[in-house]
Amino acid sequence: MKKLLNVSRRDALKAGAAAVLAMPFVSRAWAQAVEINMLAWYGHGEPDMVGAFEAANNVKFKPKYYAGGDNMLALIAQSPPGTYDIILSDAEFVQQLNVAGLIEEMNAADYPFDDMIYDDFKQFPGHWKDGKLYSMMVRCGHLGVSYNTTAISEEEAKSYKCYWKPEIKGKVGHFDWHLPSLGQMSLLNGNGAKLWDVDEAGWGKIKETTMSLRPQVGGYFDYGGTFNGLKNGEMMAMAGIGDWITGVLEKDGAPVKSVVPVEGGIQWTESYSIGKGTAKADIVKKFIQYMLSPEGQAVSAQMAAYPGFAITNGGRKALNETNPKEAQRTGQMDGAPNDPVTLIKEGRIHYRDIPKQQTLEDWNDFWQEYKNA
């Protein structure tokens, strides 16, 4: 040990010189890495998601994160064309990306459609136009009642009505985005599959129901605030979220859970598109193929920032092999009662969409009014 530490001055100088001489090669190796500009929800460009692909392909992801589809469209609109090589979008906003000419056409033959876990996912609304593919679904998750198990029982959590429980007054939080929260209010009003397609009378009722929840509300939170609110016990229920938040906390030991209530749940769906005018379309295509491979799907299902469901059979199998506990927790096992595919087949899940008879501005205006009430 003594000998190991007994380094002569000459040895130290040699090591130092070697390190200095190696520096240009190190920096050259970095310089050669292709930089991929990604626009995505938080976490998609982090090492747990892209690290293996970066190492294998000598690329470096440069993510720009957003929260909410409107926010994503706003960011793109502010950037010159070609700024983003790859765009992860909420599925309901793909159509708008396409209309605005912001994404490239994709070749369906490049992706594993045959392995999709559910037929709907092969022709996801808005992803195809005139028989041409513009976006590739990569993961999804379900939104429902997210609650603290010490304050709300499993029985109570079976309905959105639990948000009105007197004992949790001032302790109901909202993820600060109008679409999921107002969607849940629409479901509670009994709109079912037509939750996004409501006429003026229906929209009036949604506003009424939402306003009646206002006295219960303890705050409106961004991504970090939502985590903290549930983790430190400030919020006992959170509207507009699901296992994508509580799953992380649950794994951390917090007494929180998400369930799909009897009125139905909402599916968030994330899809990758290739940015219009990118010079890196080939490597971006390779990355999307990686994310849809069994390995990529298993990684995506266990994403550190927020978990999701694998959408290919291969992905589900890989998840069951690499982390059966997580597969079981999230119901991603054939025959599980909370299997996400079973829930969709039973008609209990509705894909998140944008309002059909009102504009997003109408919904957002009301959301601001609600927050100020």
């Binding site: 909410g68 409107d70 926010n71 469209l73 706003a74 793109i76 609109a77 502010q78 708008q96 209309v99 605005a100 001032g170 939080g173 600060d176 109008h178 509300v217 303890g218 705050g219 409106y220 939170f221 961004d222 605030g225 903290n228 609110g229 430190n232 016990g233 400030e234 997003l360 501005e361 957002n364 205006d365 959301w367 601001q368 009014e369 927050k371 100020n372 009430a373």
Partner: protein, 283 residues
């Protein structure tokens, strides 16, 4: 003589020019652009130059804008009152009761909080104020609580004080320390009590510094986004939160510009009125 004056003014201008250019480029220029932007149109999430007053009428005609406006005004005003009242005794102590060395050390310690990001300090407060946080844990030892402090206006106020209090104490201390102490002694010698000395001698003499501290406190609180969002739970939202909400949803930057202009006008009116009062000569 006139040649000398001209040289002198050229010399002075050369020194002033960078400041004028800086303000022009980074304050006046963006301000003019923001005013112009408030008349723009948004179509398909993209701003288009236009000259229409729709953003102004739509924003100013909504009840929730005015609710938010008066709430922000009230919270910032309350922050000024609390900060001034809490800071003043501490500043008096530092200005009149301690040695120069101790005062320098105190000023140094008051500057230290600015070494850490304001956001980090606010997140630290979340841990302290939470339902299961430090304060409630302390209360529980006496069998009381827990009290809801986070996501309330109380939380917001704690955030504002975190932002303003050290600055207010520093500004007040400098102002009070510059008072000719013989005037205070003279007041005492003439039989003036402590409180009367403070209100008739100390406060009038330090008026400018006290008002400047209050103005800083108002401006910082009125425009702050962090405290009402992370400690107040955005409930209800202040104008700064409304700017975020408006701009992130639907790319409504023009309407956000309207809110921002209303804030700037309010701050200018308050600041100019206060400064005018501070420097007003006694008749």
């Amino acid at each position: 003589m006139s040649e000398h004056r001209s040289d002198n003014s050229a010399y002075a201008l050369a020194w002033r020019l960078p400041m004028i250019l800086w303000q022009g480029l980074f304050f006046i220029g963006p301000l003019i652009f923001m005013i112009a932007m408030s008349f723009f149109l948004v179509k398909n999430y993209r701003m288009e130059p236009a000259l229409q007053v729709g953003n102004w009428t739509k924003t100013l005609s909504r009840g929730f804008f005015w609710d938010s406006y008066f709430l922000t005004l009230w919270l910032a005003g309350l922050a000024v009152i609390i900060t001034t009242c809490v800071a003043f005794p501490a500043s008096c102590f530092l200005a009149f009761r301690v040695s120069d060395l101790a005062r320098r050390w105190a000023i140094f310690f008051l500057i230290i909080p600015f070494f850490t990001s304001y956001l980090v300090r606010i997140f630290a407060w979340q841990v302290i104020l939470a339902q299961q946080g430090v304060i409630n844990a302390g209360f529980s030892l006496f069998g009381i609580g827990p009290y809801t402090m986070l996501n309330t206006k109380f939380g917001t106020m704690i955030g504002y004080l975190t932002l303003c209090l050290p600055l207010a104490v520093i500004l007040q201390t400098f102002s009070l320390a510059n008072i000719d102490k013989r005037l205070v002694e003279a007041a005492h010698n003439l039989g003036c009590g402590r409180l009367r000395t403070i209100f008739t001698v100390v406060v009038p003499l330090a008026k400018t510094g006290l008002i400047v501290a209050a103005v800083f406190c108002f401006i910082l609180s009125f425009g702050d986004f962090v405290a009402p969002y992370y400690l107040g739970g955005s409930k209800p939202p202040t104008l700064s939160i409304m700017i975020i909400d408006t701009s992130k949803s639907g790319q409504q930057w023009p309407r956000a510009a309207v809110v921002a202009i209303m804030m700037i006008v309010t701050m200018l009116v308050v600041a100019l009125t206060a400064i005018g009062y501070a420097y007003r000569k006694r008749r």
